[in-house]
Symmetry: C2
Subunit: 310 residues, 2 copies
DNA sequence: CTTCGGTGATAACCGATGGTTATGACCACG
DNA sequence: CGTGGTCATAACCATCGGTTATCACCGAAG
């Protein structure tokens, strides 16, 4: 196994140009460098290879056998790199013109998504939207790991200073119970009456959001009973039916759960939840992100006093 | 046309290694560089391409789509370069193990060449000798332009300080004439009697060697008449037959011309000529050159007091 | 024979690059 | 809650790759 040292693409480009011109000064002009710089680099390449590539003569240069041997490979190297750079460039532009929208569940809410989409597409006709449903284990719905560029999520978000958002809705909280649950008979429920109920909880990794849906701040320090962990709509529905526990749910999400056998009731004593479109602060300047956020504000009929944050 | 900037092969090697390890620290170890250096270089490559190649995560790194796209091309670039370097290396070793022997005419002289070859091959069995006949326009028989590594030539050599040599023979000079020439009747000729004869001369480019064979130093400042220029044995023979002029010839080269119709006679008043094996001083350390010179010394029965020079 | 124009090589210099070690922020794990 | 692993950052330094100015060389043209 021969150990070959690395080469700078520039040196090969210089070499090929000199090989084409057979003239250092002219090649230097074509390359927009000074002739001494070119001479030195070619010399360095020769030293690196341990062989002369050109014979310097009065009226220019001539390829040595070694130079002759190298030339086609040098061209191949440059060509391969050019193709690689182009391939990357394509990915780059493709990803610059597609926006991935993360969501934990369907946003629903009376055609919110189509409304945003049509506004967004009007502003950015060339852009492509990809929706991506993300497991509830990730409270940022894909923002954290770069899977999504923007995301429909519930506050609070962990790592608060890495994200910005605009509020879409502030919704009262209801409790979801199996029809068979004793409390299901009541028209409205005090959260105090739920303190001893087993709760369905988001995975640990959801951090403060898990606490939020357990209404930790309304429990006065007493730890909740966890009936099961849930990471998706269907899971939750099945867990409710199975009587593993109850759970809080935003008013706007109620339709996702009330498929039969499950009821929801208003809850007193729990603050409303805020549903937001969020993005990484790093991406705040990306045109597609800005455009989507703007589309979202207007679609949610901005001006109702809903604030951006943080 | 997209303008792609150059890339250093090292950066691609770093990239490929990280892509294989998916782990900066391990990759840095494999590459024998520090982890910060690797991080910085990858970052630089990403900045150059304007795109992230890896997503840094807790337990290592993962390729982004752009990185995924680049990887195969990066491998192709490295591979192409590896092949190119190998090709050059082959040329290098080939040329290091072949010795090109330049000569203006066949050295003849009773099997000199086979004797040198056998001695040389005994010392360097792996080496290959290539003989190369060079036009008389080049008095260094190919040393000057690199066509030959060693050469059998006549002194004086131009650019004296660029070459070294070992003397093979010091031979008396004769004059070659057509049989029909009046002077051909004499057994021996004074050079004074040749002063007005037209001479066959080497090309201008032969420099001092041309003057030598015109015996300029024996003419006392009177310019010679040039009957024709000659650049090869057959040319010379034909020119002599045609009566275009006479010419001086070393005793050892007489057999090359006396094919019929041409005679040679000893000349008084012209110093003997020295036939040498010469090489570029730059090459004085090359093993093959040294070995050939040594073989030449012994084959010419060194110790007869023939000096090396300069 | 000298001058002149054009070749590539060399020198002196300077900012950028690519490496080092030391350190930090972060997070998973006992 | 330390501890050990990740990658990133900082400060520093030698080398690299470029510049301009200049040289040595040689062929062509006065």
């Amino acid at each position: 196994m021969v150990m070959t040292t690395d080469v700078h693409g520039r040196d090969l480009r210089y070499f090929v140009t000199v090989a084409e011109e057979l003239h250092f000064t002219r090649a230097a002009e074509r390359l927009y460098v000074s002739q001494p710089a070119l001479s030195k680099q070619i010399r360095a390449l020769e030293r690196q290879l341990g062989v002369e590539l050109f014979r310097r003569e009065r009226q220019g240069a001539a390829l040595t056998p070694a130079g002759e041997a190298l030339l086609p490979y040098a061209r191949r190297v440059l060509e391969a790199w050019e193709e690689g750079a182009t391939a990357v460039e394509e990915v780059r532009t493709a990803q610059r013109s597609t926006l991935v929208v993360g969501m934990s569940t369907s946003p629903g809410r009376g055609g919110l998504l189509p409304a945003v989409r049509s506004r967004f597409t009007a502003a950015r006709p060339e852009a492509v939207i990809r929706l991506r449903q993300v497991n509830w284990a990730d409270p940022t719905a894909g923002l954290a790991d770069g899977e999504a560029d923007v995301a429909f999520i519930w506050l609070p978000v962990p790592d608060q200073d890495r994200y910005a958002w605009t509020v879409i809705a502030e919704e009262p909280v209801r409790v979801a119970l199996p029809d068979t649950h004793p409390l299901a008979a009541r028209a409205e429920i005090d959260f105090a009456d739920l303190l001893d109920e087993p709760f369905l909880a988001l995975p640990e990794s959801a951090g403060p959001l898990r606490d939020h849906w357990l209404a930790l701040e309304a429990r006065d320090g007493r730890p909740p009973r966890i009936g099961a962990e849930i990471a998706g709509t269907e899971e939750t529905y099945e867990a409710l039916l199975a009587g593993l526990g109850v759970c809080l749910v935003a008013a706007g999400n109620v339709p996702l759960l009330t498929l039969g056998g499950v009821t929801t009731r208003p809850v007193r004593g729990v603050p409303p939840s805020r549903y937001v479109l969020a993005w990484r602060k790093d991406d705040a300047r990306r045109p597609l992100v800005r455009a989507y956020a703007e589309a979202c504000r207007t679609a949610a009929r901005g001006g109702r006093g809903l604030a951006d944050g943080p």
